[in-house]
């Protein structure tokens, strides 16, 4: 791998960690341990279901907030504070900078998710006292959540390459919400006709399909995930993120850093 991308990525990761991004883990730990204790006292036979549902949803939401709000500032903050000037006056190409930033943030989110995953498993162990073989599917759900972060980071970078941080946050979060209901959008496209069908079908292909990446309900009910879906989601997320990053690079390559 290009060493300059690695250096930019590592610096982004280090900056994020020192900027107390991982402090969200404390809030997550408090939430999950509180929930586990409460669930253990009030639920009968569904403790596992509640903890998995709550734990994975919290992992997803905490990560989404970080992906969007850090992602939109990744490049914008460097331009605003002019830290970018001394980086781009070195033999670092603009695309290397953008890609390095992307990997740095996704790396931060992977570490963050890994820490939260440990928390989910500990809470699960607390309420059900032992692990079951079907608990392995939780890892698949976590993997899909990471794939969601990959897409969101790329989108946040893309939007921030041409708009203000606030607008980029609005666009990214809107796409996350719409993408989470993409199966409903798909159904609406099937039912509609004429121009509406054309528009909704276009939207279905443009909006990231986050609903396919959400298997929290299935995993909570101990249902298996097909390897086909794992392969499809992996390819889909990588392709979508690659297109969004390419868009961000194309715009950033032409941008005047006033």
């Amino acid at each position: 791998m290009n060493t300059r991308i690695v250096h930019v990525a590592f610096n982004t990761f280090r900056e994020a960690v020192r900027d107390r991004i991982l402090y969200n883990l404390i809030a997550f730990a408090l939430l999950l341990s509180g929930a586990a204790v409460l669930v253990g006292q009030i639920s009968i036979d569904i403790e596992r279901l509640v903890v998995v549902n709550l734990g994975l949803t919290a992992v997803s939401l905490f990560g989404v907030v970080i992906a969007i709000f850090i992602g939109i500032g990744l490049v914008a903050k460097e331009i605003e504070k002019r830290t970018l000037y001394t980086v781009l006056s070195r033999p670092v190409r603009r695309w290397e900078f953008v890609v390095g930033k992307f990997f740095g943030l996704t790396g931060t989110l992977v570490v963050n998710t890994a820490c939260m995953a440990i928390g989910v498993f500990l809470a699960l162990l607390y309420v059900s006292h032992k692990f079951q073989s079907s608990d392995g599917w939780i890892l698949v759900a976590l993997y899909f959540i990471v794939l969601q972060f990959l897409i969101l980071c790329a989108l946040a970078l893309f939007f921030s390459s041409f708009s203000s941080p606030l607008l980029a946050a609005v666009f990214s979060f809107s796409l996350f919400v719409i993408g989470s209901f993409s199966e409903d959008l798909r159904g609406f496209a099937r039912m509609s006709q004429g121009l509406t069908q054309w528009m909704t079908t276009t939207a279905v292909y443009l909006v990231p399909n986050f609903s396919a990446l959400n298997v929290i309900g299935q995993v909570a009910h101990q249902q298996p995930i097909s390897t086909q879906l794992i392969a499809y989601n992996t390819l889909y997320a990588l392709a979508y993120a690659a297109v969004a990053i390419s868009g961000a690079v194309l715009i950033f390559e032409r941008r005047n850093l006033k």
């Binding site: 060493t3 610096n11 900056e15 002019r82 830290t83 000037y85 781009l88 190409r93 005047n256 006033k258």
Partner: protein, 313 residues
Amino acid sequence: MLALETNNLAKTYAVGFWRKRPRVALRPLNLTVEAGEVFGFLGPNGAGKTTTLKLLMGLVFPTGGSARILGMEIDDPRMKAQIGFLPEQPYFYDYLTAKELLEYYAQLSGVPAKERSKRVEAMLARVGLSEAACVQLRKFSKGMLQRVGLAQAILHSPEMVFLDEPMSGLDPMGRREVRDLIQELQQEGKTVFFSTHILSDAEALCNRVAVIQQGELRGAGAVADLTAQAHRKVEIIFYGHSIPPGLTRLGAETHVSGEVVRAVLPEESQGAALELMRQEQLRLISLNPVHGSLEDYYIQKLKPAAAHAEVGR
């Protein structure tokens, strides 16, 4: 050999939201800097100095013309490995220490891993920050950040260094240290291109300077030649209690001190002034040429535009 060459380098921004209007930031600029010289880029605030530097660093894109640094195009990564850049009022990653920041920049500049830490330590010592090497940059003062900025600019031993207002924000001691550093760089055979509006710094350090105003080059050349071009004046000192009216009409700036009068007037009025003194039977004490300074040249070059702006109001 030319270290820098610009050929009609120009930049116009489109401003406004709906109806874009052109705003000229830099008119076609033709400039050359020889290898090994210290070149001062002078001009008032908003003259186009930073825009020029940003164009050269590839931070903004020219709307016309071209530039070559060390014989290479400005977007050539090989060239960027051989230059250093200090932006105006530099700001760095808050949560890194000075040492970590320099290591990061050394990595990006391709300094071999074996040499990296030795080079970083030497550079911190050179800018007087060894004691603060492990302090996070958010705790640094403006002057300390400027020193870090200088260190990162010369860390990888570049052939040419671009400094945007390197003395800004520094106390007199700090300014002196930066001046010494620029002189050291020149002794090492490096080319230094620095922008400033502090003329005494430019006069003390530069081999050649260029003056820019409102995005337009007003003049360029060797400091000695330019100061010689500035209006030549003579100083006449004579005994007297008052100023002869004829002397004022010749455009003299006069000052009476006790029984001595000092008058400074254009060189071409020297003969008329001496004739006047002979008629008035005044005793001459001394007659000396007044050497032009870079400030005289600078003001002379900027005056027409300022006057033009005044008329346009």
